[in-house]
């Protein structure tokens, strides 16, 4: 079930376009944000109804873009480490294995307490400050192992 708040957001998004379907991406993202960073089948069905498109088209959109989390649930903090060229040149791999070790999970997995999900990302447009990662909406740049440890500790402390 979508909340009033989400429905209101979707309504706002729809105003930006001449076509209902154009609001699909925004609506999906709004729903995902409001439901713990994950998208369920029911969510997609609901968006399909609101925007009057076939559910499979919603699924197709969700399945095309990497930012929709529908295949498996992600934890509260979704860590995406850029492993494209610039970041790799400056040690992204090292950071990844470090995090795998400290979090006790491998790439693609979520910690048992659902706190962290660790995945990779292709270039996030922050190459001048490589290596970098994105957690939730936030960019963390010029990373070192020490910085990463601190970031993770802070996040843990915060939640």
């Amino acid at each position: 079930m979508l909340t009033e708040k989400t429905l209101e957001k979707i309504k706002q998004i729809q105003k930006n376009y001449h076509s209902k379907k154009s609001a699909v991406m925004g609506a999906l993202m709004a729903v995902q944000r409001d439901s713990g960073n994950n998208l369920t089948r029911e969510d997609m069905d609901a968006v399909a109804k609101i925007l009057d498109v076939n559910p499979v088209e919603i699924h197709a959109v969700a399945g095309f873009y990497t930012m929709y989390n529908w295949k498996k649930p992600v934890g509260r903090h979704h860590i995406q480490v850029c492993w494209n060229l610039s970041c790799s040149l400056l040690g992204a791999e090292h950071l990844i294995s470090h995090m795998e070790k400290t979090l006790g999970i491998t790439l693609g997995e979520t910690t048992p307490d659902s706190m962290f999900t660790l995945t990779t990302a292709e270039c996030l447009g922050s190459c001048g400050t490589a290596p970098m990662m994105q957690i939730g909406d936030d960019y963390y740049e010029d990373l070192t192992v020490e910085k990463v440890d601190k970031i993770l500790a802070d996040l843990r402390a915060r939640s």
Binding site: S19, M67, G125
Partner: protein
Amino acid sequence: MEKILLKNIDKPEAYKLENYVANGGYKSIRKALEMEPDHIIQMVKDSNLRGRGGAGFPAGLKWSFIPKDPTLQKYLCCNADEGEPGTFKDRAIMDKDPHLLLEGMMITCYAIGASIGYVYIRGEFEYGASMLEAAIDEAYEKGFLGKDIFGSDFSLDLYVHRGAGAYICGEETALLESLEGGRGQPRKKPPFPALAGLYAKPTVINNVETLGCIPAILEKGPEWFKAIGPEKSPGTRICGVSGHVKKPGLYELPMGVPLRELIFDHCGGMRGNKPLKAVIPGGVSAPMLVEADIDTPMDFDSMAAKGTMLGSSAVIVMEEGTCMVKVAYITSRFFSHESCGKCTPCREGTSWQTRVLHRIEHGEGRPGDVELLESLCENIFGRTFCPLGDGAVMALRGALKHFKEEFVYHIQHKKCMVDS
């Protein structure tokens, strides 16, 4: 040198409308609104401004393809998808000086007769998107957007459309497909967007940096602009430098500055003063150059003459000791990850390429792999639906051209030649 695009970047709170105005902003749009739209298009044509999104297509010429019929709805889409690995220039403008982009869009919309404009921003740029939205809200509040802007009879609405993670949406027709709420797969051309773009209506798609140049051209005139850098690709360029340099970052320089000057003068040279092994001059789709090539000026035509591209002028610098098999693997993995799946050679070809490179990189190379890779390149190149597949080939060919022996070594010795 006078900056055009990054001039406000370091000023405090440059993102605020009042500060943008205080820094001399929103003058050009007022000037534009006094002019005939065609005159503006002519100015941009005269300026020789070429698209900064990658292909370097003349902006004024693109605008002039838009039908003049006033009853037709027209659109401007700003391409802020910034996905080419190595590139981080457009983000700076949106994060720090969003009104520059808005002013550029306003002038462009007026010139082409569009009453609606979208900024298609990649979904990961949450911060940039919120900065843009705040700037747009401010502009509406001030009457800079909406009905009859600046007291003229020109009305304009601008919106931000967030992507959600797909490099291909930087390709202009995939971008439109995505804006229409679909999977971002490229459309066939013709019809070209100028005739049937967004919602099948005439549409101009321009990069952020391209649009960022417009206010200055309006203000100081095409001759002034054309005088910066080489006449055929004039203006300044934001070079985003990453990799093994001392001072990576953004450098706005006149077009045509040689790579060497950029790396050694502006970026302070190589990290740890190691020798330079290779440099990618325009995002990973652009074939790499080696030390011997770095006196090449950074403009569209000189780079093309060297068999590579200026692209997004995202410069990735690699020092001696960098494994080129790994570089090739990483870029290939990127392209196959981003292949939209529409056309056969890109979908299957880039994936095959990646599988082979992955094997070689992991010490499981087989004799004949280099020839296989070369043959795959040949079978993909020029046969894909859009240039993404070509990008994958160009990147790999660049590495094979200069460093074939590293691949051969890797295959024969099941390990890396450089980190032994």
